[in-house]
């Protein structure tokens, strides 16, 4: 095993320790992880390898004289392959205040079950 080249290397971000993980696959396609100092490293490596996800935060256009951009975020982490499409959709969106923090702006993006929500309340123009 040790002679084999790792199929991927990554840094675990489950805690500030930042273990350098090496991922290997054996003949049966089973994933093994080395370099982790605790079991959370294995969980992190498996998710990062098979289904990497990220919370996406960006802004939408706001029809407001107070604030031209409204900060928004995904409700939970989004599979990485959908990030570019989500950013594009968010940048094309124009939101008309009043908006409440947590208000859903895009529901179930591309069937991922992830919503895009406002991350700030913005009152209507006076």
């Amino acid at each position: 095993m040790s002679q084999q080249e790792p199929i991927q290397e990554m840094i675990c971000i489950s805690c500030p320790l930042g273990c350098h993980l090496s991922l290997y696959k054996d003949e049966t396609d089973k994933l093994t992880v080395t370099g982790n100092k605790c079991k959370r490293g294995v969980v992190y490596a498996e998710e990062e390898f098979y289904a990497p996800k990220r919370v996406v935060t960006c802004t939408c256009r706001a029809e407001s004289t107070v604030l031209p951009r409204l900060p928004v975020r995904t409700t939970t982490s989004l599979p990485k392959e959908h990030i570019d499409a989500l950013l594009k959709a968010a940048y094309e969106l124009t939101v008309k205040p009043p908006v409440a923090c947590g208000q859903v702006l895009i529901e179930d993006f591309n069937g991922t079950g992830v919503n895009l929500i406002a991350s700030m309340s913005l009152g209507a123009d006076r």
Binding site: M10, I11, I13, P16, L67, R69, L87, M120
Partner: protein, 420 residues
């Protein structure tokens, strides 16, 4: 001129000021909160990324969400909020012991606020090109990372297309991702230290995710361009000196600087507050009180924190101490704390043996399986194992009454904190 009086005046309505003011009101003292911007929340409003709130609210929030929760708490309390109002002068040497703040505002005119206690919560500002003395021409396109963050996230402008970032502090790393997500190309992050100065999770999620190279032990040794930045020269450090022979150019139109923060203490200094040269923040005792009686300090104006959650936690404590001061509840005795081996600084610089509390400190070294040693007058009194320490991660230790109970504390005892 409008004249107002409060028990406590809080200056600055970022994470620190909001939490301190809310806590003062919760303990039934009158409180004025003065903020120069028109919104509450300070710099949190432009920090649209997630990672806030895990300690304060036990859930992951963005900066604006974290700010909104604190702002709602303040708005629902008895705190009087003055936005668009700048404190320009703070007088502390009055005969009756009252502190006097002169405030200017387009909304309220000139206000004179007298208060029995003041909480300083003005936060920091960014170090800029002048502070790191980068040679070269003076073209457009050089921004501090926080200014660029404000332009992109609040104003809706993208400062450039081809970006190089100086410094691997958290704001720089967050901006590397943000600029990538608005369609710019980030070509490199240049860090003078041999280790990253931001949190590991930001290195992974903001640089590695986008294959942005991080050059450790490198500097930008020259900025070139006539009207706009055209390229920067990047040099590896050889014994601390830029190595010209192995330098290389990176073409770019924008340079973002994430090279540290400086506590904004002009007002504090004018009020006679003693400054700790290690932190550029006030020297505070076990109750977060500065060298000026009745003037307290917390948050990033006291020392630069990694997490807004810790700012809020420290500020809540400070608000409580300010109210105790009003009620003449002061510590009977205080013991000086000294930063020992491998510790850059420790805050606060005193503890109250009858009411020991949390201490924040920073390490000078990077180490796994490290140990924290507390020594009272050279005698070991407490040891704590720390799985990992590095200068960029602020550390803390909780002093508990049961720890301190057995300590042989003399009148001029000193507690020394060191790591190895």
């Amino acid at each position: 001129m409008k004249e107002l009086h409060y028990d406590v005046l809080v200056i600055g309505a970022g994470a620190g000021g909001l939490a301190a003011a809310a806590e003062v009101a919760k303990h039934d003292a009158t409180c004025a909160l003065v903020e120069r911007e028109s919104h509450l929340g300070g710099i949190l409003i432009q920090c649209i990324h997630n990672g806030f709130g895990l300690e304060e609210y036990k859930e992951e929030l963005t900066g604006p969400e974290f700010a909104e929760r604190l702002a709602v708490e303040v708005r629902n309390s008895a705190v009087d909020v003055y936005t668009d109002t700048t404190v320009t002068q703070l007088e502390t040497d009055t005969d009756d012991g009252l502190k006097i703040a002169y405030c200017f505002s387009a909304v309220y005119g000139v206000i004179r606020i007298s208060a029995r206690a003041v909480v300083l919560a003005m936060g920091c500002r960014e170090r800029n090109r002048g502070n790191i003395r980068t040679p070269g021409t003076r073209p457009a396109g050089v921004y501090t990372a926080g200014l660029a963050q404000r332009l992109v996230n609040i104003e809706g402008y993208i400062p450039g297309k081809d970006v190089v970032i100086v410094g691997s502090g958290d704001i720089g790393l967050i901006m590397a991702r943000r600029m990538t997500w608005v369609g710019a190309t980030v070509h490199a992050v240049i860090e003078i230290q041999p280790y990253p100065s931001g949190l590991t999770r930001n290195i992974v999620q903001c640089l590695n995710d986008f294959d942005i190279p991080l050059y450790l032990s490198h500097v930008v040794s020259r900025i070139e361009g006539r009207d706009r930045v055209e390229k920067v020269r990047v040099s590896p450090l050889d014994n601390g000196i830029p190595d010209e022979d192995n330098s290389f150019d990176i073409p770019c139109d924008t340079l973002l600087l994430s090279v540290g923060l400086v506590p904004e203490n002009e007002l504090s200094k004018e009020a006679g507050v003693d400054i700790n040269p290690q932190t550029n923040g006030a020297l505070v005792d076990s109750t977060m009180m500065t060298s000026v009686d009745g003037v307290f300090s917390c948050g990033n104006v006291l020392h630069v924190h990694d997490l807004a959650d810790w700012v809020a936690e420290e500020a809540r404590r400070t608000g409580r101490y300010a109210v105790q001061y009003l009620r003449n509840k002061r510590p009977n005795r205080q013991v000086r704390i000294k930063a020992g081996a491998n510790v850059r600084y420790i805050n606060p610089t005193m503890f109250d043996p009858d009411n020991p509390d949390k201490l924040y400190f920073r390490s000078l070294i990077v180490k796994n399986q490290a140990k924290l040693h507390l020594k009272l007058d050279h005698n070991p009194v407490k040891e704590v194992k720390m799985s990992h320490i590095q200068p960029s991660e602020m550390l803390h230790v909780n002093l508990k009454p049961k720890d301190v109970a057995s300590w042989n504390i003399m009148k001029d005892s000193v507690l020394e904190v060191s790591v190895e």
